[in-house]
Symmetry: D3
Subunit: 144 residues, 6 copies
């Protein structure tokens, strides 16, 4: 595969936003985000840059909502739309990393039964179960 949009020369890289985004993403979920960035690298390298810059460098870094609140919102919306299970799992992981408890995440997903229907809630609870199970059996998630 040829690199399709590697011309970062045409991209106005704002080191401040880019670095701020990288730091926030590393803080939230270093491992998952690294995988997404690497997977994007050869198909849409500029998009990896935008992903650092706008969602994390611009939005997530705004002080008026903390990272715990932001992950509540991301988990709820991804669970409601229901078509991006891998990214939902990434945000459940991220939510746990920034201080949400398993119980709080389950509450958010149960509330989806009201807002988006039982099928969306059931799907999302199964995704959460996978993440919780994997973390409980995976030593690298133990935080000192």
């Amino acid at each position: 595969m040829s690199k399709t949009n590697s011309s970062t020369a045409s991209l106005n890289i704002d080191e401040t936003r880019l670095n701020r985004g990288k730091q926030i993403l590393a803080h939230i979920d270093k491992k998952s985000s690294q995988k997404v960035i690497e997977a994007l690298a050869d198909v849409a390298p500029d998009f990896a840059t935008y992903l650092f810059e706008f969602p994390y460098g611009d939005i997530y870094s705004r002080p008026a909502l903390d990272l715990r609140g932001r992950e509540m919102v991301s988990i709820a919306v991804l669970a409601a739309t229901g078509s991006a299970t891998t990214l939902l799992k990434g945000h459940i992981e991220a939510g746990l990393n920034v201080g949400l408890s398993q119980e709080e995440i389950v509450e958010i997903l149960m509330q989806l039964a009201v807002l988006a229907g039982f099928p969306a809630a059931i799907n999302a609870l199964f995704a959460a179960k996978d993440v919780f199970t994997q973390r409980s059996t995976s030593p690298q998630h133990v935080r000192s």
Copy 2:
């Protein structure tokens, strides 16, 4: 119009859940919820009962997430799906009533640009603007 499902006799009314739901809904947003219930009364009276019982009597009354967190989730999901503007406005109103600031609600809606796209975010911000404007010019929202 004939009352289409008024046979509440066939409905197993659980006073505890029903009353708990009514109290929570009255606490969150007495005026809007009253309007919804009344509007449902002649087309689907049993549905008004279910609305008290399940979303409010069962889910919203669970202690593991507070009402502030629950309204963050409801606002985010309704704004992301984008097709129920009246109900989104009701939950923005409710969010303000349970302690979210205008600034926090705007932050949630701006984050939707990342999660569900700019059109969904713009639509929701216009809905929020309507609610904020109406409250600022409407004396009954002033809380002592």
Copy 3:
């Protein structure tokens, strides 16, 4: 406005499908469908033809599901997606015309609370209420 795709010469009109579709649509809901067709006439006249031919001439005319069943499906899906209120009302009207009772339509819409969430159900119940009210006060819906 210029007629943008009026070149029906390039369209292979199949009189059988076209006529079959027109007859079914006239049977289901003459007045509403006539309005849709007329409204499409000057912006996309070929599309009005396709609308007769494929949904009604091909699909609705298949015998394996009766019109009552087909309108149950159309009402449920339009209510679940939630963004086409005018067309939902047209199909509620059509459902009543082909033999669904108000009570059955309300049951379908209440079940949406389970499948697609309470907001979608509430919106659809309000649409049904409008249709029921209008029919009860409108003499031309009285069927002999």
Copy 4:
């Protein structure tokens, strides 16, 4: 994984609704529903209770629409939203159990091409194909 919301003490269990829901679900599709309930048990045990109570104990048990009609609605809506293939298959299975024929289910899914587009219809027809194939080769689906 710790049990995240096991405090059923705080839950007002209504034996009537719960039992009614369990009986209906067992009637519709004992095997699939048992799997869903068991899978929810350690991540969200209260949610399994709500799933019995509200969708099945409250809604599905209402007499104004029979189980055949209810499964038509559930199949149509899950196929239209398109993101919960496993649950769609469960409802296709359930539809066959409560008396829908393979031909009727295929008709419902073909109508989705009109209502939600060909991609949604194609996806759902492939899900139906999987269910039909599995049942034809699996002895336990033979009903005496």
Copy 5:
């Protein structure tokens, strides 16, 4: 209404992206975009900045797809999701401004019947009809 997120001091304004976005948006549709920006100004002023910067300053300004192609994509996606009629009309307007003909826009919307169903296509065609009618009767759209 208090200005909720007016602290642009905390915002890293990149004049290049901001100006590039403003120029592109002015080129595409000066009047509509001006209205959106002004309407956002008192509820979410930073969001107006992001709207210039990311969608227009970053994405729309990339040379690998021309503005005609970009508006084809925006019109198709907004019409398919169906919940943002005002913004769909803005992009139909924009599409005409960057060189799409009425006939091409109608073709895109008719193709939605295949991809997202007839209801989505019908709704979008009615939106297009409104825009075409308004332009044909409105002198300021005549371009010299």
Copy 6:
């Protein structure tokens, strides 16, 4: 599995539309479309006929938008709705076959971050990556 709707006798087959659709689909993507048709054959054989006739025989064959433009629209809409990854990959394949470059497809998908959110864009870019990788390692895609 019994053939559920094989009664093509009841189907008014229009050889012109059918043949036109078959030719267009063969031109766009012979291999993928053949697989879809074959997979539909034993569950819904009439649906395979409709798929040739309406989307390809009627819509895609209209001259006002070329196949390149049609695939831009199909890719964008399937990526935005996000629930039909297999069909999205088929249309990315088809887009390459009718003259879109990898770079143009990536641009369309990146624009989805604006229109439908970053999660939809990321999912679609991963689907594109799979298609590009497979074609680069698969000799039958080399066109003389």
